[in-house]
């Protein structure tokens, strides 16, 4: 399984449609403080089915919608689309390319899609569960948490690995 691309539109500071194309190997994301790098990490977490907004530096869905700035109005929708290369059959779907999409509206409505078909949030969560989230997305400042967590929590890392 490979990440192919991440399309972000309206999620946090990405008010305009933005694409990250990933290759094999290592992709580095660089930029000044506050430019939006961690927001990319949170967009990936969100599209993979994150349901705890406290893990996205927020408290509710509204917090991930582009909130506007002194020069730009807030947006009413956030959409993140993840495109995966499944040609090795890692995910149990009959497609060599899989798209996972998540949309949230200021009205409170949410949509979840796999390859364009509407699904529920838990369908996305079940699809992505084998990807091992606890050791696949390491948030900023959480390196220490890996070590300083109470031993019982650290055990959680191993159980995901098991």
């Amino acid at each position: 399984l490979l990440l192919k691309r991440l399309d972000i539109h309206g999620f946090k500071s990405f008010a305009t449609p933005t694409t990250f194309a990933f290759d094999r190997g290592i992709t580095a994301i660089v930029g000044p403080n506050g430019s939006g790098k961690s927001n990319v990490s949170e967009a990936l977490r969100w599209v993979l089915g994150e349901s705890q907004y406290s893990n996205l530096r927020g408290r509710k869905t509204e917090d991930i919608l582009f909130a506007g700035s002194d020069r730009r109005a807030p947006l009413g929708m956030a959409e993140v689309v993840l495109t995966l290369d499944n040609s090795d059959g890692d995910l149990p779907l009959e497609f060599s390319e899989i798209t996972v999409a998540r949309r949230a509206y200021r009205s409170g409505e949410s949509q979840y899609l796999i390859n364009g078909s509407r699904v529920r949030l838990k369908d996305i969560q079940q699809l992505t569960a084998p990807l091992g989230q606890s050791h696949t997305i390491i948030g900023q400042g959480l390196v220490d948490a890996v070590l300083s967590q109470r031993p019982e929590d650290r055990r959680g890392l191993f159980e995901h690995a098991a």
């Binding site: 094999r24 994301i29 506050g34 070590l147 031993p151 055990r155």
Partner: protein, 164 residues
């Protein structure tokens, strides 16, 4: 085909000793399980950077703690690789020579695991195959440009000299 916790734990512990040695350029570290009766699920780490004595985690320096955490994450990846892994500034506390060993370890893992690393570190940037720059305009909107390695290094250095 999920292994039992203790099978996986034993494998991760063995791997952790190796990854610690590589990242620190020596030394030893041990991962151990605590007694199930008085502390079920407890996991302990002791570490001995090269030339130093055995210490608990709280006695290590800021950079040594960060590198030990990376060693554990890498060990888990090697025992049960996930297809991709995103790391957000896990190298922030590392000095230049530790950043190089960190970058070398990622390059080795990158043959089987796809990495996305968010970083301010030049050494880490030099290890990347693909580079994206992210900037925010006066309008509070983030945008991205793909960069070549020399452009990314220059952007980091220009920012520095321009403001000096």
């Amino acid at each position: 085909m999920a292994n039992s916790f203790s099978e996986t734990f034993t494998e991760v512990a063995a791997e952790f000793e190796q990854t610690f040695k590589r990242l620190f350029g020596g030394g030893t570290a041990k991962l151990s399980q605590r007694d199930e009766e008085d502390e079920p699920g407890g996991v302990d780490i002791v570490a001995q950077p090269p030339g130093k004595r055995l210490q608990g985690l709280n006695q290590l320096s800021g950079g040594e703690r960060a590198l030990t955490a990376v060693a554990l994450l890498v060990a888990i990846q090697r025992v049960n690789p996930s297809p991709f892994c995103l790391l957000d500034e896990v190298d922030a506390a590392l000095d230049e020579s530790n950043v190089v060993r960190f970058k070398d370890e990622l390059r080795d893992l990158a043959t089987t695991t796809q990495f996305v690393v968010i970083t301010h570190n030049r050494g880490t940037i030099e290890g990347a195959d693909t580079l994206y720059g992210v900037t925010m305009g006066d309008d509070g909107v983030s945008r991205t440009i793909s960069l070549r390695l020399d452009e990314a290094i220059q952007a980091v250095e220009e920012q520095q000299t321009a403001s000096v």
